[in-house]
């Protein structure tokens, strides 16, 4: 290792030799770096889960354009729309198709008697084009009144049993005072606001929620015709529908707005963002502490080198060398612990907490950058002082 580094650097790998000379101190430094990594990765993971649950909530349907009530911030918090909006949207020449999307929460009693909050997605059975891939095939079968597809990822549910639900082995249960028969299943999982999902036809939805019987959709899904520009159609629809209390956005924009709203306006999101900021600050403090202690410990040795005529960039090279070594070796245990904690929290909450390559690499390069910056900052004392002052 020393030989390799010496060949690579064209000089003695003093950073490496220094670190490995004192094993105890190196392990402490590595533990500090690893801990900083775990802290930041876990907080980012929880924040990422919020991102993931938003993506999940939008997964059961597909569309180019999404029309919502003007007071809607998330999927479930807006007022119902008038069906008139649907017909008006359809009259646009570049609108290929449109369908109502019905959404509401319902309580479902799990196998163990506990209550789960389920989001019910209601779609017309003929609107297969608007259904997410995992319910598209089964959607026509939901034409049978009071049938549903159930989310086998529902938090704390018996997912084994739910995954066996099929037309041949249906599952009957009661919600909102009606008996519903599940004839299939899909895998979505819970979010911060619900434990799982149900997919039903629009007719079944309206029977489950009599207050919506007048046929007021939660949102309207619109597909534009081939070759039409979604954003242009959005602008035109917004104008066409202007007297109605609606907002017209592409589905992508709606999803992004929803996430932004959850991150900035909802307590959970704000707290998660704050925790990430705290974790980054604490991580930086730890890394700075590690590197500045290291520089201070070797100050008189560096002063000797300075007296011998080594330039300042030589010391920056040593600090950088140590940063890369600590960042590299400290990252791996940090990553392993973080992934373990992800699995633990995911198992506990059913939230989609997963390590992404982008997150791992950015935390990794952030660590090395923070190490290098801290070391450079700690070495500034060395730059200013006469060697004779440092012995």
């Amino acid at each position: 290792m020393t030989r390799l580094l010496a060949a690579l650097l064209g000089r003695l790998p003093i950073g490496w030799l220094q670190l490995t000379h004192n094993r105890g101190r190196m392990i402490a430094a590595l533990a500090g770096v690893a801990f900083a990594n775990v802290l930041v990765l876990v907080q980012l993971g929880i924040l990422g889960a919020l991102n993931g649950t938003v993506a999940i909530a939008y997964a059961p349907f597909e569309a180019d354009i999404f029309i919502s009530s003007s007071d809607a911030n998330t999927l479930t918090d807006g007022s119902p729309l008038s069906r008139r909006v649907l017909f008006r949207a359809l009259s646009d020449p570049q609108v290929e198709a449109a369908a109502p999307l019905y959404l509401a929460n319902v309580d479902w009693t799990r196998h163990d008697g506990s209550i789960a909050t389920m989001i019910v997605y209601g779609l017309p059975v003929e609107a297969q084009a608007f259904a997410g891939s995992f319910i598209r095939e089964a959607l026509p079968s939901l034409a049978m009144p009071d049938t549903a597809l159930i989310d086998r990822g529902t938090r704390a549910a018996d997912s084994e049993a739910l995954s066996r639900v099929s037309p041949e082995a249906p599952l009957q249960f009661e919600v909102n005072g009606r008996t519903i028969t599940a004839t299939g299943n899909f895998d979505l999982g819970g979010s911060f606001s619900a434990d799982g999902s149900l997919a039903v036809s629009d007719q079944t939805f309206l029977r489950l929620f009599p207050s919506r019987i007048s046929g007021t959709p939660s949102h309207i899904l619109v597909d534009v015709s081939d070759g039409a520009e979604s954003t242009a159609v959005v602008a035109r629809l917004a104008e066409r529908l202007s007297p109605e209390p609606v907002k017209v956005r592409t589905l992508e924009t709606a999803k992004a707005d929803d996430l932004t709203y959850q991150l900035t306006q909802r307590p959970t999101g704000v707290i998660f963002g704050f925790s990430v900021a705290m974790a980054v600050v604490i991580g930086l403090v730890i890394v700075y502490q590690v590197l500045s202690t290291d520089v201070a410990d070797h100050l008189s040795e560096y002063a000797t080198f300075k007296a011998m005529g080594y330039p300042h960039r030589f010391f920056l090279g040593i600090v950088l060398e140590e940063s890369v070594v600590l960042g590299l070796i400290g990252f791996l245990p940090g990553l392993i612990v973080a992934v373990g904690l992800y699995q633990f929290v995911a198992g506990l909450t059913g939230l989609p907490i997963e390590m992404t390559i982008a997150r791992a690499t950015s935390v990794f390069s952030g660590t090395i950058l923070a190490c290098a910056a801290s070391g450079t900052f700690a070495a500034r004392r060395l730059r200013a002082a006469d060697p004779a002052e440092l012995f």
Partner: protein, 229 residues
């Protein structure tokens, strides 16, 4: 031409109320290839003068010329280039604890650039053998005695054939015998290589070896004896 010329050098420590002068109007020239010994009571300014001449401390007032170049007001690059032409042996050995004897000495060569590793290695081993550490080449400083460490420091200072060597009480940490051995070694190596050596010492027994003995008191030169060969 004298490698070291000092003219009207004054130096102060501290600022404001606690400002205290440590060097008063010192002028001297050192002959090439000579061994000059600086003596004087503790606190008389020997280390201060040595570090001023050795580019380790900024010159405040007066003039220090090393190899003809003025140090007062010199830029960091000039100072670094000058430092590379010197060998400095400190009172404490100041070896790098994580580097072996070989690596410590090698650091004295690598300061001049990459160079050929094989040639470096030969030079390092030769130097360590010269100071009598041929059998301790790959020892860490922690496993060497005080005298051995000081000899590694000497090897490090001399390995790149510096034109001038400054030594600040190189024998202070050593017992009498190894102290004498270290000084004799410096003297012979200096003679062989034509090195100019300036050494601070309290040890009277070393004086016989000197070409010139200067005495410092309260920051002033109060004695200057040359030995006529």
């Amino acid at each position: 031409m004298s490698p070291i010329v000092v003219e009207c050098l004054n130096h102060w420590f501290g600022a404001g109320e606690v400002r205290k002068q440590a060097i008063y109007d010192v002028s001297l020239e050192v002959d090439r290839g000579s061994l000059t010994i600086l003596m004087g009571p503790s606190g008389s300014g020997k280390t201060t003068l040595l570090t001023l001449m050795g580019c380790l401390r900024e010159v405040q007032d007066g003039s220090v010329r090393l190899f003809g170049a003025e140090l007062k007001g010199a830029g960091i690059q000039t100072l670094e280039a000058m430092r590379r032409r010197l060998g400095f042996i400190f009172q404490a050995h100041n070896l790098h604890e994580s580097l072996t004897a070989r690596q410590n000495v090698l650091a004295g060569l690598q300061v001049h650039g990459r160079g050929d590793p094989a040639r470096h290695n030969v030079a390092v081993e030769h130097m360590l053998r010269l100071v009598g550490l041929g059998d301790r080449i790959d020892y860490l400083p922690g496993n060497l005695s005080g005298g051995q460490k000081q000899r590694v420091a000497i090897a490090r200072a001399l390995v790149s054939n510096p034109e001038v060597v400054f030594a600040d009480e190189p024998t202070a940490a050593l017992d009498h015998d190894s102290g004498m051995a270290v000084v004799r070694m410096l003297k012979t190596l200096g003679q062989e290589r034509g090195t100019t050596t300036v050494m601070v010492t309290h040890d009277n027994r070393i004086l016989d070896l000197a070409d010139r003995i200067m005495t410092l008191e309260d920051g002033r030169i109060v004695g200057d004896q040359r030995k006529t060969p």
